[in-house]
């Protein structure tokens, strides 16, 4: 820092003026991008409180209006049921998160602590399937579930989360750095069983990694559209992303305010999560990639 100041002094005002202009330009670009990030959501939240007539007069307002309740009534009178969607999504996402976090850590633990013959091949295999999209097996998955009579059930949405290759990969990297094998050894000397060691000693040590993975699997599951869309056909089973697709239907064609309200309700939980946990989320994105 000190060095920079010296250079600025030595070379006179030219450089500092140039860098001042450059800096202003950078700020302008960043602020523009920030506005583009916020504006669509801002318009959405504001229009959720405005009446159809107001929106028709002027579709953009930076301030809220007073029609929130009437929009809610219109929304509720039709097929869109945000409470049902919220509960269904909550059930699925909570189940997915619990399965992903616990079993990924267990699998990662097996890869880190035990010296078994298939360890390396198994890890290579996990890396290989990590990037294959689930969508390519969608048709077979649907037919299989249809045969089992498991369509319109939450189980086929939750259970596959037990095998989450990317989460295993993340947990393994974490355990390699954070789990001293001496702890495991000394617990064994104290006579603790292997399951007991995992649940009582490893789990608490891995809490930070579990928290990161919990956020990402919860959000990922909350936002998932493809699998629920092919499996769930009954409206009382719809998760939020399918529920939201109802807003495109003709019954809401002229109810602008309620469409914006419905959209707002689906992302409101995510906004809350993001405002509270953004630090960990951004950290998690950075962490996942460097090691990936």
């Amino acid at each position: 820092m000190k060095y920079n100041d010296d250079v600025g002094v030595r070379y006179g005002n030219n450089i500092s003026r140039g860098s001042y202009v450059a800096k202003t330009l950078k700020y302008i670009v960043c602020i523009l991008l920030a506005i583009i990030s916020i504006l669509p959501f801002w318009i959405m939240f504001m229009n959720a409180t405005r009446g159809t007539y107001e929106i028709q007069q002027n579709a953009i307002s930076l301030l809220p209006s007073t029609h929130l309740l009437s929009n809610m009534k219109v929304l509720h009178g039709k097929s869109f049921n945000p409470v049902r969607g919220f509960i269904n999504s909550l059930i699925v996402s909570t189940g997915v998160t619990a399965c992903t976090v616990y079993f990924s850590l267990l699998t990662a633990y097996a890869l880190v602590v035990y010296d078994w013959r298939m360890r390396q091949p198994f890890f290579t295999f996990i890396m290989a399937v990590m990037l294959i999209p689930a969508q390519v097996s969608g048709i077979g998955f649907y037919q299989f579930m249809y045969k089992l009579n498991w369509t319109n059930s939450f189980l086929p949405l939750i259970l596959p989360a037990i095998a989450a290759p990317a989460a295993v990969f993340f947990m393994r990297q974490y355990l390699l750095g954070a789990l001293p094998l001496d702890i495991v050894d000394s617990a064994r000397i104290d006579g603790a069983g292997e399951f007991h060691i995992f649940n009582r000693i490893v789990l608490p040590i891995a809490k930070p990694a579990m928290a990161t993975q919990a956020i990402f699997s919860f959000v990922g599951s909350w936002n998932n559209l493809f699998t629920p869309l092919i499996l769930l056909t009954k409206q009382d089973k719809y998760t939020m992303p399918i529920m939201v697709s109802l807003l495109r239907g003709d019954i809401y064609k002229t109810e602008y305010g309620s469409v914006y309200l419905g959209l707002s309700l689906t992302v409101l939980p995510l906004f809350i999560i993001y405002f509270v946990l953004s630090k960990y989320i951004i950290q998690g994105v950075a962490l996942g990639s460097v090691k990936g």
Binding site: L33, A34, M127, Q135, G140, L225, I282, V290
Partner: protein, 327 residues
């Protein structure tokens, strides 16, 4: 000697603890993938059918798919939309990375900018698709109002009727949702570069641009390849936005491969077989892309592995020597 014996006795737990993962993977991933491949060779179509009858010409579905102009268009659409989102995405992300990691000219409020740039990524894509559909409404909609307010256009524009405009908007949404994500990854990559290199560049009087092009960029090579391939894999799966924004329209201009597969299998005449054949083509593309990624990442890992092996061998030799001397 004692240690090795001990680890052998615990090895079975490695298998036991992996059982849940392996079983669930076999049932819910591997089996459906094989099942999909099999369906690609059958005449399975129509809602509620599950029977398997192989076709006389096993590749009939594949031939039909390649002759289907919608499928060809969906492949080219996917490529076009991905390219039009990725090029600006990587450029802006690199630019922001360069600015935010510039050690001489620190920008303030980086935390807030990162927070805002990444925000769209976490929001439900289904919601964003419908939100943008409303934003671009005609004749009265927020975007039209904004353009007229700023004097950019004189009368409202019917954005969603024209193919290229619609495709551009889908690309823009993808860009908007992902550039913050890419930026964070690239910044993490810069943070991983040995800081002494930057320090010596600074002492040698390298300018910000020089440092970026000659130090930052070459060192980000691996991470950029990672971003490229994972973005391609993500682009291949693009479903939520094109499905709910305009359901592939207008005139199939935003029909991506995933939307094509979905529409074949779960609407119209429920052609599971054709959709399965298309899925397998997508699967092959995904395997090739992941293979590429493995190839790019291979060097480093192999080098690391070799080093580890070497070190282990040395350690062993040293131990043997020590043991020998004691005896």
């Amino acid at each position: 000697m004692k240690r090795r014996k001990k680890s052998v006795s615990y090895a079975k737990y490695g298998y036991i603890f992996s059982i849940p993962f392996v079983v669930v993977f076999l049932i819910f991933s591997l089996y459906p993938t094989i099942y999909t491949a099999v369906i690609g060779f059958t005449d399975l179509k129509g809602l509620g059918r599950t029977d398997i009858n192989f076709l006389e010409d096993p590749f009939l579905n594949f031939k039909a798919i390649f002759k289907n102009p919608s499928f060809i268009k969906s492949l080219s659409n996917t490529a076009i939309i991905w390219l039009m989102n990725f090029i600006p995405q990587i450029v802006i992300a690199l630019l922001l990375t360069a600015w935010f990691t510039n050690r001489r000219n620190k920008l303030k409020g980086q935390g807030a900018f990162k927070f805002l740039f990444y925000m769209p990524n976490i929001m439900t894509a289904a919601t964003i698709a419908i939100l943008f559909n409303s934003l671009f409404a005609y004749p009265k909609g927020p975007v039209n109002d904004l353009l007229m307010m700023l004097g950019i256009s004189e009368k409202p524009i019917e954005f969603l009727r024209e193919g290229w405009t619609a495709r551009n908007i889908v690309s823009f949404i993808q860009f908007w949702m992902w550039y913050g994500h890419t930026m964070i990854i690239l910044m993490a990559g810069v943070a991983g570069i040995d800081p002494t290199i930057f320090e010596s560049a600074e002492i040698d009087g390298a300018s910000g641009a020089q440092t970026f092009f000659h130090i930052t960029l070459p060192n980000l090579r691996t991470i950029m390849l990672y971003v490229l391939v994972t973005s391609m894999l993500g682009g291949l799966q693009m479903f939520d936005i094109p499905k709910l924004f305009l359901n592939g329209g207008p005139d199939n201009a935003t029909l991506t491969t995933s939307v094509f597969i979905y529409n074949q299998a779960f609407s119209g005449s429920y052609m599971y077989n054709r959709a399965a054949a298309a899925s397998m083509i997508m699967f092959i593309i995904a395997v090739v892309l992941s293979g590429l990624l493995f190839y790019f990442m291979r060097d480093e890992d192999e080098v690391k592995l070799k080093k580890e092996k070497k070190r282990a061998r040395k350690e062993q030799a040293r131990r043997a020597k020590e043991g020998g001397s004691v005896v």
